[in-house]
Symmetry: C2
Subunit: 276 residues, 2 copies
């Protein structure tokens, strides 16, 4: 028999590599190659969900951090410091509220631009995969039952070797003196079912392959969105320090002294000697 | 009497404005002008301490944030993602540990470069101020007792107006037919005490003034150190995102498919028709 060429050489395509069943390592039974592809799809959906949950955890951490910074910024420690130093100190405190704001915005965007899309991508995926699964499984059942029909009709002749099973891809030769109509019809029906299964396998596995490429792309894009948000956040955070630096440059001990002395002076008349 | 010139005109110097006592608003007694200056010094020390405590609170917030990020980075969500996407995801998680490290370093430097110096600056300040206080108070007591001595010796003549008190800076004229030796000696002693008090007032208030300028400068420098650390931290934090971006650029669905198919393929022999 002529050697088969891969349908999509060099592409490691799903449609080329999952024809045979997989033996169950535990011992009993087998699993269709197609099942492995389906499991991979479902695992991919699970990964997407878990990544979304991870982002949710990050969001919680950011919200906690923001809450703590906002609270501390309201603290009244050293609030009595006055003058230009007092103003600079007040801005140090305010900058914490600004930082809190930056981190709150970050967490909000993490939610709307990363967590949510990751969670909601292909909401009905499991259902779709189930349909897929049943569809192919039905075709396999059909194939199996038509194989059984052939076996039933095929006469058993002693001495004739049983040909290798169709699953190894070698043709099944049934040697008979007179092939009966029944047998021919059963073989025909079998081949039709196999043809149908074959077609659907190629179509469906290629679709799953496409879905997986899309999934990886979607995740990549959203993780890029994540890093973009991280970059932005660090930049916004940097800008909260600028007003503090400005006020620190304006700190003037002499001016502060003037302010304080003007307010608290008791009297500038110096004592003079007592005279007789 | 000639008009007094300020000792340090335009400088709003402590040595010019705190000669008189301040009336206690509550009603009884007075407080020396000098006391106000001392209180300001002690308040300044309190401000320094409170600023240090504020920084401590910031440190605690940073440590909590770092701890949460480090913990989340160890989380196993989506750890089963494989291939180039799996690597990028693993780096997303690792980057949280890198961020945690950045914030821990930040908190450590906040402690050693801001919190600690602010807390420890002039550890013995209160003691020093107490000495100061007692020193000037002793000179005032001396002055008061020598004033009392003059009063005791000064004869009371009906009809003579009592001259204005020395505290308003007008000379006390004592009209007598014959100023006695006792009186002259008492007035002399008084003037000596006043001279001493005057000198110490000028010296000490100028010293307090200098200390206050130093305090403001010290705080300003350490707050600048704070903003410097903030800048650095945001920059280091930005750099933790770079390795993630690199791996995201390398995400390749086709390569990931090849990897997975090589490992999980069941068989590439396609079925052929059954033949009779």
């Amino acid at each position: 028999m002529p050697e088969q060429q891969l349908l999509k050489p060099t592409e490691w395509s799903y449609c080329d590599y999952f024809w045979a069943d997989k033996k169950d390592p535990q011992g009993n039974g087998t699993m269709a190659g197609f099942e492995l592809l389906l499991q991979k799809q479902l695992k991919g959906k699970q990964m997407q969900k878990e990544m979304s949950e991870f982002i949710r955890e990050r969001i919680k951490i950011e919200e906690e951090y923001a809450k703590n910074l906002a609270k501390l910024s309201q603290n009244s420690l050293a609030a009595q410091e006055e003058g230009s130093l007092g103003e600079a100190w007040a801005q140090v405190k305010k900058s914490l509220a600004d930082e809190a704001e930056v981190h709150l915005k970050f967490s909000a965007k993490l939610h709307s631009e990363v967590e949510k899309p990751l969670m909601n991508f292909r909401e009905n995926f499991k259902k779709d995969m189930k349909k897929c699964d049943h569809h192919i499984a039905d075709l396999r059942k059909q194939l199996a039952s038509r194989y059984a029909a052939v076996e039933k009709v095929r006469p058993r002749m002693p001495g004739w070797e049983k040909a290798a099973m169709v699953r190894t891809g070698q043709s099944m030769t049934v040697a008979l003196a007179l092939p009966g109509d029944d047998l021919m019809r059963c073989v025909d029906l079998y081949n039709q079912a196999q043809s149908k299964w074959f077609e659907e396998m190629v179509t469906t596995t290629l679709e799953l392959e496409r879905l997986e490429v899309e999934r990886v792309e979607m995740i990549r894009q959203h993780l890029c969105q994540y890093t973009q948000l991280r970059h932005e956040t660090d930049m916004f955070n940097q800008s909260t320090v600028e007003p503090v630096d400005q006020l620190l440059r304006k700190v003037d001990p002499a001016k502060d002294r003037e302010l304080w002395v003007r307010e608290h002076k008791t009297g500038n008349i110096r004592p003079v000697d007592m005279e007789i």
